[in-house]
């Protein structure tokens, strides 16, 4: 397992020499620890905004891992969509809905038991699946310099139909959201 991680951490462009490989491996572990530690923080923290901050750190850690694999486009998407967009909206919602600012969430004992059970099950499934799939032995990197061009050509070429279908779905969601928001306002005006 360790060797696989080290390979994953390696710079994909050319054969990296001693110090570069060492730094890459070290950075890999730093980012991985950041992602895993923050993910645990997301679960453990009782303050909902701190949870969101932990989530941000986890996302940043994963973005760092993507950068290490020369997938800077993926890292940027991770940042702009999750860290800069979704997370801001989550915090925005929390700030709008929370009554007392520093409310702490206190789970019941049953919730803790059921939650831990689910976590254990999911973790077992995921870990066995990853170990058995042989994914860990295949190093997936985008050493391709044309990475983003290839991606664009694929999205608007081979995968045009799924791409367009997804955008239709997004459009439907957007219209639905606008309709819901507008309908509620009209109701409020009527009262």
């Amino acid at each position: 397992m360790n060797t696989t991680l080290a390979i994953l951490a390696q710079n994909s462009a050319g054969a990296p020499d001693g110090a570069t490989a060492l730094i890459n491996t070290a950075l890999f572990y730093v980012f991985a620890a950041m992602a895993v530690g923050s993910a645990i923080g997301v679960m453990v923290s009782r303050n909902i905004v701190r949870t969101a901050v932990c989530l941000l750190m986890a996302l940043l850690g994963v973005a760092g891992l993507y950068l290490g694999m020369h997938a800077e486009f993926l890292a940027a998407v991770q940042l702009v969509v999750y860290a800069g967009g979704t997370l801001v909206l989550i915090i925005f919602g929390v700030m709008l809905t929370n009554n007392s600012t520093f409310q702490l969430y206190r789970p019941k004992r049953l919730e803790v038991v059921v939650g831990s059970g689910l976590v254990a099950m999911l973790a077992t499934v995921l870990i066995t699946a990853i170990l058995r799939s042989g994914m860990a032995d295949r190093v997936v990197t985008s050493g391709n310099t044309y990475a983003i061009q290839t991606l664009g050509e694929a999205l608007l070429g081979d995968y045009l139909v799924p791409f367009e279908l997804i955008s239709v779905l997004l459009l439907a969601v957007m219209i639905g959201a606008a309709y819901l928001a507008k309908g509620r306002r009209r109701e409020g005006e009527g009262q």
Binding site: A19, G84, L87, M95, T145, I148, E153, D158
Partner: protein, 466 residues
């Protein structure tokens, strides 16, 4: 999904697609950069390359950012003073240049207060979270063709915009963790303002990217190396208009006036940084001024020709000397290019400052109205136009220096791009006119600086405005 629409030609092929990548060659990952060639004779040795990178970060970028922020704060106060018919800070050092240093020392000596009911951890974390992303954006900023920290990021422009969008979290957390109503109002305004203005900002950038066909910052600069008429702002009318959309949206995403609602001091005390004092307070200012520079630098790199001079001399000599392997000349060219780049970005920052002291602050609903109902439709129309334009008007984007001379009409005709040349020429004249009038105003302000009089006060004129 094999089958319909399968493309077999390699991406980047000159004839592959009318939509872009027209002959734009991305540097191979393994090619050593100029500095690597000069300093390490090829691929940098492991330890030496590492030290070089660390030294660059610690001795070039970090000091650059702090010095720029200090000078910009001084400049902003001088500009404000000039616009309000008063001298501005002029006592500490020559022209008051060291005012920011004095203020910095004062801030360091202040007590680091944390409100009793604040969330102390997040309160401490927030300033760094606002500062770090802006610094990370320097990774892909192209100061000159070979003076870019990481020139190989194929989606460098997108990377910078993405990392800048993380900066919001710092402001939101600062507002929330302060446990203060005014701060939370500031944070909420920041959240909705930034999230909505990111959309016209991104779309207007895409208009320029479509005209260029690349997201790599260095490639963007190379494409614009043929003189002022090949700068992307002159490439087609849609990019020209997108420049202004981007500028307005960048003001909002930087929370600069007239969009400084998160810290509107007349309503919210000081908005999200009400509770901050001392060094943490100054971190927000460093972040703000560095973000102003980064945003201006993106604008320079994508619209205003990056490090290139208006005559295309840098591009010409760079191509010539890299063929001749004249390394010292190339380094000198890069130094000049970096100076031009920083100067252009400072020009943009100066305009941002003028606007701050000129325009009144709108309400938050007006700010959102401007975004969703004005800027967004304009940006979408520009996007559509920018997509159609290259199909109608053949252009010479990405043609290397060896094959044509951008100042020779015959070469453009040979490339079948006469229409493009005419539009670009007209737009270039427009850009020169706008720039000329801006420079004229600055010159007028400079030459009349000694004749400033307080308008409403007593007859006594200010004797010495340095």
């Amino acid at each position: 999904m094999p089958g319909v629409g399968k493309r077999t030609e390699p991406p980047g092929d000159a004839s592959a697609s009318p939509w872009g990548f027209r002959g734009v060659q991305i540097r191979q990952v393994d090619t050593p950069t100029l500095m690597q060639r000069v300093l390490f004779h090829g691929e940098p040795g492991s330890m030496a390359g590492l030290l070089w990178n660390v030294a660059l970060i610690l001795l070039v970028f970090l000091p650059f950012m702090s010095v720029f922020a200090m000078l910009a704060i001084w400049g902003e106060r001088r500009v404000a003073g000039r616009m309000q018919c008063r001298p501005g800070p002029n006592r500490v050092g020559p022209f008051g240049l060291f005012q920011s240093v004095a203020d910095g020392i004062k801030l360091i000596l202040k007590e680091d207060l944390i409100p009793a009911n604040a969330d102390a951890v997040l309160f401490r974390l927030a300033p760094y979270l606002a500062f770090a992303p802006v610094f990370a954006a320097f990774m892909a900023l192209p100061f000159a063709q070979d003076f870019t920290y990481e020139p190989r990021v194929s989606s460098g422009l997108f990377w910078i915009l993405a990392i800048l969008s993380v900066e919001i979290m710092g402001v939101i957390l600062a507002g929330w963790a302060s446990n203060n109503k005014w701060s939370i109002y500031g944070a909420m305004r920041e959240a909705c303002q930034m999230v909505s203005y990111e959309i016209p900002l991104g779309i207007s950038i895409i208009v320029a990217v479509m005209a260029a066909g690349t997201l790599n910052m260095v490639e963007l600069g190379k494409i614009q190396s043929g003189g002022i008429h090949t700068w992307l702002i002159c490439r087609n009318p849609f990019v020209f208009l997108a420049f202004f959309v981007y500028f307005i949206a960048s003001l909002a995403s930087n929370k600069r006036a007239p969009f400084d609602l998160p810290e509107s001091e007349s309503e919210l005390v000081a908005g999200f940084h009400t509770e901050y004092s001392g060094l943490r307070f100054s971190m927000f200012f460093f972040a703000e001024y560095a973000a102003m520079f980064v945003v201006g630098a993106i604008q320079v790199a994508t619209f205003l020709g990056g490090w290139n001079d208006p005559f295309g001399l840098i591009g010409y000599y760079h191509a010539k000397w890299s063929k001749e392997q004249f390394d010292m000349g190339l380094i000198a060219l890069n130094c000049i290019g970096s100076a031009i780049f920083v100067l252009k970005a400072c020009g943009i920052v100066l305009v941002q400052m003028w606007l701050r002291w000129t325009l009144p602050r709108p309400r938050i609903d007006q700010v959102l109205y401007t975004c969703v109902k004005v800027l967004l439709p304009i940006a979408c129309i520009l996007l559509l136009g920018g997509a159609i334009w290259p199909l109608i008007v053949p252009d010479t984007v990405g043609m290397p220096w060896a094959t044509y001379n951008p100042w020779s009409v015959a070469d453009w005709q040979k490339a079948g791009a006469t229409g493009a040349l005419i539009t670009q020429g007209l737009l270039a004249i427009l850009v020169i006119a706008i720039k000329g009038s801006l420079i004229g105003w600055v010159a007028y302000a400079w030459f009349t600086r000694k004749t400033v009089r307080p308008r409403l006060s007593e007859a006594e004129p200010i004797a010495e405005v340095v």
